[in-house]
């Protein structure tokens, strides 16, 4: 097992967290609560760290009494715990004592009254109607000549909703606060009481553009709990599809970055390439977004000889097109000029905020679950991409090199899939227990902590999309830039609203 659970008394919880935070050099990867009052155990709070050196996930856990639920906040010492504590406060009503910011993230004050905590087990589904009338308190920047620019939640483009509050002095942005939660749908609550097959379906709808990574992470959590390992072939197939998902999204972002600086020809060129991969996905699996491919214990589609041929042929064409796309982008001086030095996220800031995944690699943090924790990826040659400047240019470069790397990965995986046996699913015997499923999705590490009860139903499912960490990173990266540069910075991160809001 690659998880270690350390039980701490409430008075030692903070010390234990600080110890692992320093020792493992890891931000808080996830922090969440569980309602176990039915077993007379009160609440349980977990705080997870990523121990790359030891190939272990370390969970520090403690009990919190059910009657007056509160614990000592660790956010003053570990910044990356702040958002998680706010989440625990609004969803469970457990007070993190000492956390300076307790505003609600998802249950907006305007529509949700105080005192209803949806993730508590005794929460009634139809409760919480009737509105609280409080208004959200944005951080205020005051001074001569400073004014606020509110943007959203409905934006000009075809994109999900989010509210951004810019404080500017003249042109440069002094402060940016993102208020999210608009797409909150109560997904974590919806998971509860469902069986695992429905759970897979639901996980595919957490974030539509990473449907496959979500379902893989969920499935691997369930597989871990039930102590089974899918057949090797199924794992390789999953890796192929994960990389396909990665490249279509990278193309989408490259297209978006180009269009946000007004460079439309290559943008359209990239969108054609993206469409081709979506069509390829449909050809291979029947779904453009790879839905329904993952099932617990394996995969549902088989790579036949003709599918394999079609895949390899498409890759070849894709590689050729991509070379052209690259030459168009990199030979345009004005395009490069717009990206260079825009949206800078320094390494130190990224580390403190707990930024992960692609955005972190662009700022010089070498972390990739595929490299660090991989079971499947240890079989292939794989270069980890890293940039150090942390600007939009760096994030574009990472995407470009990851695209090329992914194509090579797909080829290697396809080579390893032997024809013959079509046994693609390990029989699942449901057990009770809990476990962590994780996968390096295209945005970064995607974590699913799942707990099953005795009858095999989901009791708690905590999802952490890398966006949850990285939104803060975006807000810091635009400081000093001008508002017209915000779209391109935003696109260079391309964070999920739905995955963040759940």
């Amino acid at each position: 097992m690659d998880e270690a659970y350390i039980y701490a008394k409430p008075e030692n919880f903070k010390r234990a967290c600080l110890y692992f935070h320093k020792k493992l050099n890891s931000p808080v990867a996830m922090m969440f609560a569980c309602d176990e009052r039915a077993n007379k155990k009160g609440f349980k709070v977990y705080c997870a760290f990523m121990g790359i050196k030891y190939k272990k996930w370390v969970f520090v856990t403690m009990d919190v009494s059910g009657d007056s639920p509160e614990f000592e906040s660790i956010a003053n010492d570990i910044y990356s715990a702040g958002l998680f504590e706010r989440e625990i406060k609004e969803m469970f009503g457990i007070l993190p004592k000492g956390n300076p910011d307790l505003r609600r993230l998802r249950l907006h004050d305007e529509v949700w009254p105080e005192g209803y905590y949806p993730l508590r087990k005794d929460f009634k589904w139809q409760e919480g109607t009737g509105a609280g009338k409080k208004e959200y308190a944005f951080n205020k920047v005051e001074g001569e000549g400073i004014f606020e620019v509110p943007v959203g939640p409905v934006h000009a483009g075809i994109i999900p909703p989010g509210h951004f509050r810019f404080s500017v002095a003249g042109e440069p942005i002094i402060n940016l606060e993102a208020r999210l939660g608009w797409t909150h749908k109560g997904i974590e609550k919806l998971f509860e009481g469902k069986d695992v097959n429905l759970g897979v379906k639901l996980s595919e709808c957490v974030a539509g553009d990473s449907a496959f990574s979500n379902s893989w992470a969920f499935c691997s959590a369930v597989e871990k709990i039930c102590k089974i390992e899918p057949p090797e072939k199924a794992l390789f197939l999953r890796a192929v599809f994960l990389e396909l998902e990665r490249i279509y999204n990278h193309l989408n972002d490259i297209s978006g970055i180009a269009i946000d600086v007004g460079f439309s020809f290559p943008a359209m060129y990239a969108s054609i390439m993206k469409e081709k991969i979506l069509c390829l996905n449909e050809k291979l699996t029947g779904s453009r977004y790879l839905k329904g491919v993952n099932i617990t214990g394996g995969v549902s589609v088989y790579l036949t000889v003709w599918k394999k041929k079609a895949l390899l042929k498409a890759l070849e064409a894709m590689e050729k097109d991509f070379k052209e796309l690259k030459s168009m982008l990199y030979s345009s001086v004005s395009f490069m000029d717009r990206l260079d030095g825009t949206g800078m996220l320094k390494k130190k800031t990224a580390e403190d905020l707990g930024v992960l995944g692609l955005a972190a690699r662009a700022s010089g943090i070498e972390k990739d679950l595929r490299k660090d924790f991989s079971r499947v990826y240890s079989n292939v040659r794989f270069n980890l991409m890293k940039e150090s400047s942390g600007d939009v240019m760096a994030r574009l470069n990472i995407r470009v090199s990851e695209f090329e790397e992914s194509i090579s990965l797909i080829r290697q995986f396809v080579d390893m899939i032997k024809q013959g046996s079509i046994d693609l699913q390990e029989k699942l015997k449901l057990k009770d227990g809990f476990g962590l499923g994780y996968i390096e999705a295209w945005r970064g590490p995607l974590l699913y902590w799942v707990k099953l009860n005795k009858s095999g139903l989901i009791e708690r499912c905590k999802i952490v999309d890398p966006s949850f960490h990285n939104w803060e990173g975006l807000c810091y990266s635009v400081l000093g830039d001008i508002i017209p540069d915000f779209p391109v910075c935003n696109k260079s991160f391309d964070l999920s609203y739905s995955g963040n809001d759940l």
Binding site: W125, A156, I159, H184, K185, K189, L190, E275, R288, E324
Partner: protein, 167 residues
Amino acid sequence: MINILKNRIIKGIVTRPIEMDRDIKKIGAELKSLVYKRFGRSFHIREVDTGSCNACESEIIAATNPIYDIQRFGVSFVASPRHADALLVTGPVSKNMLLALKKTYETMPEPKFVITCGDCALDGGIFKDSYYVENGVKNILPVILHIPGCPPSPLVIIKTLLTFLKK
């Protein structure tokens, strides 16, 4: 620049060749003439996401890419609801988005239509009966057309729009 010109010539017109082409052209021609007649040459849509998982947005954007190119039929997506003939709504309507959705609808000039896109916009779909979801758009605004699918493919979006305009 030279690269762009080169690729423009090499790529030529990509707008979906092969088997699907006939389909699109047929639909397209019909759609175009209808749009010309009913909406004075152009039909403008404003898209609002009320909590979808982003797959529907991805497909709507795909409908505007050079392969499907919905704009060639006079259908285009606009940035402001004040410019729009129709409101295209995705997502099951989260409580947070309820007010924003209503306000967007109110700002649109008459005559206006509401079209929903994706299974969860119909009745909440997979998110149905969650504590934070209003179970679809039809409880809030008069919906005239639904585009089914999770997510609907660009072709389905174009086809369904035709059905609507024919009415």
